[in-house]
């Protein structure tokens, strides 16, 4: 794919970004994008554990119809789960870890455009996370992750301000990550790395960066207004003085619907890389996949009102939002079709990353198609605010993004650490996650269709069977996530040495040593081939 100018002379223990310096200072003051990615990896794993723990607790609560915890406790648990998982896990998950690590390497650069800003974004993330943890230890927040006014601004007796402050600060971390990616992709590409040669992972993270930059500030200001309103006891969302709480929902979803695509686009990029590598084929319809990322980024900003079909939003605006929401399914469908077409007549292998990719494609398709149910104005009205919604977005977020994140982690782990993990165990855990996920969330589709509302701590006894199934599934899912944690940690010391390119994959990142050196390349690479040049399997177009 590319020629590295001069081969590095090999030494016994090659210097790499991990062993070049030691001590905590070398980590906390690093500007190396790879080390910052590792810092992020550790932090978001902790937050994922916290959010997951809350989920396990409230699933236990739902084992019995009357609930085990108090309603207040239940509200705080699901709010904690939502806030942590959305803002502190899903949004930074792939961009801040895998993409932070890989984008400079994939475009042939020594680092991101602004290394110090990259470090700043990690510190902001940590500060935001500390605010969120402070909120939890003071007693939590009970508004749900959406912070709807006027409940959050006036009536809630929980710790809204620290939670909002945490999300606000973490939002700036997200903005800075996106800004860094945009500038890096525009200005740091190696000679010959044209836009049409960029790996699709870079394209999808570029599109993600645009959403982060254009959407997140609006979230920041709407949360600021909520906080001001709480402090002043009066504000622009206050119905007592003629304020309109629906305005908050407009501003909130102007960010938070596109944010859904912040949480899925990077995953789509990962799947493009994995499917291509383990089918030994060029991605089918590269241009379509690349531009569908951009189309998603743009369309994602004009569909937010489908979250507000059952509010007092104008019915005419709702109709427009409904039509636009159907349109945003088109680019997503293009991607799914093209991945499938890539596998067609490829020599498909079943390594762990590919298992996750299979899981992604199937589960994301279910999540996406049920999204079309919800885009339909008439059908949304009865199922809005039920477990149908919960199941839908978990199929996209967990079945989609977390699957892709796990797949990407398994794909690039040898590059990041230089070590392989045990194949059999990783395949078993991928299967466990798939089974546990479906057992957890498929019953929720049925529950929702039967009319069980979300965010209630209790339910009628006839729903118990399905709720018990869901809780059982969640414990299987938890086991599925703990196993990789164990073997990844084990592999750091004991895994077999991976070598440069354990998968025989194409791409600049596989042509440098594992783990890479601090500046990635000894000399700036020159690219003279397309991405995914997997041998002459077939050159037939169509």
């Amino acid at each position: 794919m590319a020629t590295i100018a001069h081969e590095t002379p090999r030494t016994a223990t090659p210097v790499n970004y991990l062993n070049v310096e030691h001590g905590w200072k070398s980590w906390l003051f690093t500007t190396d994008h790879k080390r910052i990615a590792v810092l992020y990896l550790v932090s978001i794993t902790i937050m994922f554990a916290v959010g997951g723990f809350a989920a396990v607790l409230f699933r236990i609560n739902l084992l019995t119809p009357e609930g085990l915890f108090s309603p207040e406790m239940y509200n705080r648990l699901f709010s904690l789960h939502g806030i942590i998982m959305v803002f502190f896990f899903l949004v930074p998950s792939i961009p801040a870890t895998l993409a932070n690590f890989l984008i400079p390497i994939m475009v042939g650069a020594k680092d991101l455009a602004f290394p110090r800003i990259n470090l700043l974004s990690w510190y902001l993330y940590v500060i935001g996370a500390l605010f969120a943890m402070y909120c939890v230890f003071r007693g939590g927040v009970d508004t749900g992750w959406t912070f709807y006014a006027p409940y959050s601004s006036t009536y809630s007796n929980s710790y809204v301000v620290p939670a909002v402050a945490g999300v606000f600060v973490a939002g700036f971390s997200s903005i800075l990550t996106g800004l860094n990616f945009i500038v890096t992709v525009h200005k740091m590409r190696a000679p010959g790395m044209t836009w049409s040669r960029l790996p699709l992972f870079v394209w999808s993270n570029y599109a993600t960066g645009l959403i982060q930059v254009l959407g997140t500030p609006v979230l920041a200001i709407s949360l600021t207004l909520i906080a001001l309103e709480r402090v002043a006891h009066v504000g622009i969302f206050d119905p007592n003085i003629g304020g309109d709480p629906i305005l908050f929902q407009h501003l909130f979803w102007f960010y938070s619907h596109p944010a859904v695509y912040i949480m899925i686009l990077p995953g789509m990029g990962v799947i493009s890389e994995i499917v291509s590598c383990f089918s030994r084929k060029r991605v089918f319809g590269y241009n379509f996949v690349a531009f569908s990322s951009m189309a998603i980024a743009v369309l994602s900003f004009v569909v937010w009102g489908h979250h507000m079909f059952v509010t007092g939003q104008s019915v005419y605006t709702s109709v427009a939002f409904s039509i636009l929401s159907f349109m945003v399914a088109v680019p997503s469908a293009i991607k799914v079709f093209n991945w499938t077409a890539t596998m067609y007549k490829g020599s498909v292998s079943f390594d762990t990353p590919m298992l996750y990719a299979f899981g992604f494609i199937g589960l994301f398709t279910i999540g996406g198609l049920t999204g079309l149910f919800l885009a339909c104005l008439a059908l949304d009205v009865p199922v809005h605010g039920t477990y149908f919604i919960v199941a839908h977005f978990h199929y996209v977020m967990v079945g989609g993004m977390v699957m892709a994140y796990m797949g990407g982690l398994h794909f690039w782990w040898p590059k990041m650490t230089g070590r392989m993990y045990p194949q059999v165990w990783s395949q078993i855990s991928a299967a466990i996650i798939f089974v546990g996920f479906n057992l957890t969330f498929f019953p929720q589709f049925i529950l929702g269709y039967l009319g069980m509302p979300r965010r209630y701590h209790a339910y009628p006894p006839e729903f118990q069977m399905l709720n018990v199934l869901s809780t059982a599934g969640s414990s299987i899912l938890a086991v599925g996530y703990v196993i990789p944690l164990i073997y990844f940690l084990w592999s750091l010391k004991n895994g077999p040495i991976a070598g440069k390119n354990p998968w025989g994959a194409a791409g600049l990142e596989w042509q440098i040593q594992s783990p890479p050196t601090t500046y990635n390349f000894d000399d700036t690479p020159v690219v003279n081939e397309e991405a995914y040049n997997y041998g002459p399997v077939e050159e037939v177009v169509g």
């Binding site: 254009l214 102007f254 004009v302 005419y316 605006t317």
Partner: protein
């Protein structure tokens, strides 16, 4: 470095125009033009902002890419304002009978 170095004259001219426009917009605000007061005020504000961006901030001399980014930012602001406004403008529209019977009454939209 091949940056564009602005001349003093255009900078001072822009400054003078901005001051004059500020005077005009303040004066016009005292005249009753009905709803047009808002329109005039906004047109003058957009003009002033454009002058600052075009000359002081040097958009005129930047790359096409930077111009594209500036336009994209404004388009996104427009998306937010327009779609939100569409909700508030059409919220109180009501119709009697079927939409195709054209008995739609528009009222109460502020």
């Amino acid at each position: 470095m091949t940056a564009h170095i602005p001349k003093v004259r255009p900078l001072v001219l822009v400054w003078a125009s901005l001051i004059v426009l500020t005077g005009i917009t303040s004066a016009v605000s005292k005249i009753d033009l009905g709803e047009w007061n808002v329109v005039v005020a906004l047109i003058i504000a957009v003009t002033k902002a454009s002058l600052v961006a075009w000359i002081f901030m040097g958009v005129r001399y930047t790359t096409t890419l930077t111009k594209l980014f500036v336009v994209a930012g404004l388009v996104w602001l427009g998306i937010m304002l327009l779609i939100t406004a569409s909700d508030y403008k059409s919220r109180n529209w009501t119709y009697q009978g079927q939409p195709w019977s054209q008995t739609k009454t528009v009222g109460g939209s502020h």
